[in-house]
């Protein structure tokens, strides 16, 4: 296999990579939105998000294949489990650590601990092998030379509907309150907002999004106990590319990330994908530490 094939990229290959880029970009956009909702509001490096991701997939496939519940019901239960788990981590771990005056590094380490211990627990219960969500095979569509599946369409549609929903909620009372808390925590308390409640809200929404991402992933690929680390890392990268605290552009940064990774396939082998992502982050943090987009009003 050629690692680098500069010339000879056929138009049909480019077109196929654009379509894959849209699918991958939509998925990364959802990851970026999910991490950004939590990070910009609470400023917690919520690495345990990786465990929430994994748990959503395993609860869904567990209830579907072990208990034999209908797949849609199993997915809903998986999503509920994600929300409950995310909120519980905030209430039980982060809140009590904040109360006792733990530093953000201390909270990050606790979160990292959960992101390691959680998947281990799943491995003990389900074993280390990949497991599939029993959804059957998708229909394959071919338009010209480009092919895509039902799951690709579902991924794109579900991702953007969820992102649109979160952005629309910013206009609501809760949305405005979370914007306020992320902009100035002390002042939002002074106008009568309870930052504690907003944190719970951010964890609930962020966990719902990451759970949905996990389900979308397992439509195509097998779930493994360590499946959560990479998507959460990519979500953080999208958040930092967008500029910390800029919730509106985090999904856009995620989309650009997915697109670039996919199109890099014109010149580079797939094995370089992760290198491309970290290279992008590295360059962006040096050249535009305030985020890759022009700063607009929040």
């Amino acid at each position: 296999m050629h690692l680098i094939s500069a010339a000879g990229a056929s138009p049909s290959l480019v077109l196929q990579l654009v379509v894959s880029g849209v699918v991958l970009g939509s998925f990364y956009a959802l990851l970026g939105m999910s991490v950004s909702v939590i990070y910009s509001t609470t400023k917690v490096f919520h690495f345990a998000h990786a465990f929430v991701y994994t748990a959503a997939a395993y609860v869904a496939l567990g209830t579907a294949s072990v208990l034999g519940l209908p797949i849609v019901l199993a997915i809903v239960i998986g999503l509920i489990a994600a929300v409950v788990l995310g909120v519980t981590i905030e209430l039980v771990v982060y809140r009590s650590m904040r109360r006792s005056g733990a530093s953000s590094l201390g909270i990050f380490l606790a979160s990292l601990g959960i992101s390691i211990a959680g998947p281990n627990l799943i491995q003990i219960i389900f074993g280390p092998d990949g497991r599939n969500l029993p959804v059957g095979n998708p229909t394959l569509y071919t338009v010209g030379t480009v092919t895509f599946t039902t799951w690709d369409i579902v991924t794109v549609v579900v991702s953007w509907v969820l992102i649109g929903g979160v952005l629309a909620m910013r206009r609501s009372r809760w949305g405005l309150a979370s914007i306020a808390v992320s902009a100035n925590r002390e002042l939002s308390a002074a106008v009568g907002i309870s930052p504690q409640k907003i944190y719970v809200y951010a964890f609930a929404v962020g966990s719902l999004l990451i759970g949905s991402a996990a389900i979308l992933f397992t439509l195509n690929q097998a779930a493994t106990p360590n499946m959560g680390l990479q998507p959460v890392l990519f979500g953080f990268i999208a958040t930092f590319l967008a500029g910390v605290g800029n919730q509106k552009t985090a999904p856009l940064a995620g989309f650009v990330l997915g697109m670039v990774v996919s199109l890099s396939g014109i010149w580079l082998s797939q094995t370089f994908q992760t290198a491309v992502i970290f290279g992008l982050l590295f360059v962006a943090l040096i050249v535009r530490p305030q985020g890759i987009f022009r700063k607009a009003a929040v």
Binding site: L176, A177, A190
Partner: protein, 244 residues
């Protein structure tokens, strides 16, 4: 004089007794008692580090009290949360971070009324603030942190008014704005107190600007109230600094 007598004749809006408060084990306020009547402007004077800001934060519930009692409109609010104090008609405007700098002027004002559920009431208040400070209407979509210092101060007052505050705790409203605007700002605070019965606890370094609009003055030194007198008596002095 006349005003302060009138204020004392009515019920006190705020009565704070023997407040002791500080950061960690180190106490900053040792024994602070003060009262504020309806429509009264009370100014706390004192040098840096005397505990003026701490006193305001303690009254607003941002710092837990070690001992002491706070009564607001006849209710004991010593243990109430900040949010419930806001609902009860109290507001606090910090010297350094009184507005949401990254949000627009309109978002700021909306957030000021966060505890107000009734959208009609919110709209009425917004209209009233736009009448009071037309610049906040004209620059509604401007990012708050990009406005001039004076406009940011007006916005901070607007934010407090949006909550329906009847008792404002104002920390150094003259900080960082042009001297000509200070007089204007203080005049509008005076007008709000006269016309709408607003009570104000003012912490101010700019004694010359604060005294003309004040009814009464407290001198705070090293966490203790040294003396309280009417603003007329304070104006007659030319040696405040001895009290600091």
């Amino acid at each position: 004089m006349e005003r302060s007598e009138k204020a004392q004749a009515t019920t006190d809006r705020l009565v704070a007794s023997n407040l002791v408060c500080g950061y960690g084990k180190h106490s900053v306020l040792h024994d602070v008692s003060l009262t504020v009547g309806a429509g009264e402007i009370v100014t706390i004077l004192g040098h840096n580090g005397a505990g003026k800001t701490t006193a305001l934060k303690a009254l607003f519930g941002l710092l837990p009290l070690q001992s002491g009692v706070v009564i607001h409109d006849g209710q004991n609010i010593t243990k109430s949360s900040t949010a419930s104090r806001v609902r009860g008609g109290m507001s606090y405007t910090s010297a350094t971070s009184a507005i949401f700098r990254d949000l627009t002027v309109r978002q700021n004002l909306e957030l000021g009324a966060f505890t107000v559920r009734d959208s009609k009431v919110r709209a009425e208040r917004l209209a009233r603030i736009h009448d009071l400070f037309p610049v906040l209407k004209d620059r509604g979509s401007a990012v708050a942190g990009r406005m001039s210092g004076g406009q940011q101060r007006l916005l901070s007052i607007g934010l407090a008014l949006m909550s329906g505050a009847e008792l404002m705790l104002l920390d150094e409203p003259s900080l960082g704005i042009a001297p000509s605007l200070v007089t204007e700002l203080f005049e509008s605070i005076r007008a709000l107190s006269r016309d709408a019965g607003l009570s104000v606890v003012l912490v101010e370094q700019n004694v010359g600007a604060a005294l003309p609009i004040s009814d009464r003055v407290y001198y705070l030194r090293a966490g203790e109230i040294l003396l309280s007198e009417s603003a007329d008596e304070a104006r007659a002095r030319d040696d405040w600094w001895e009290l600091f």
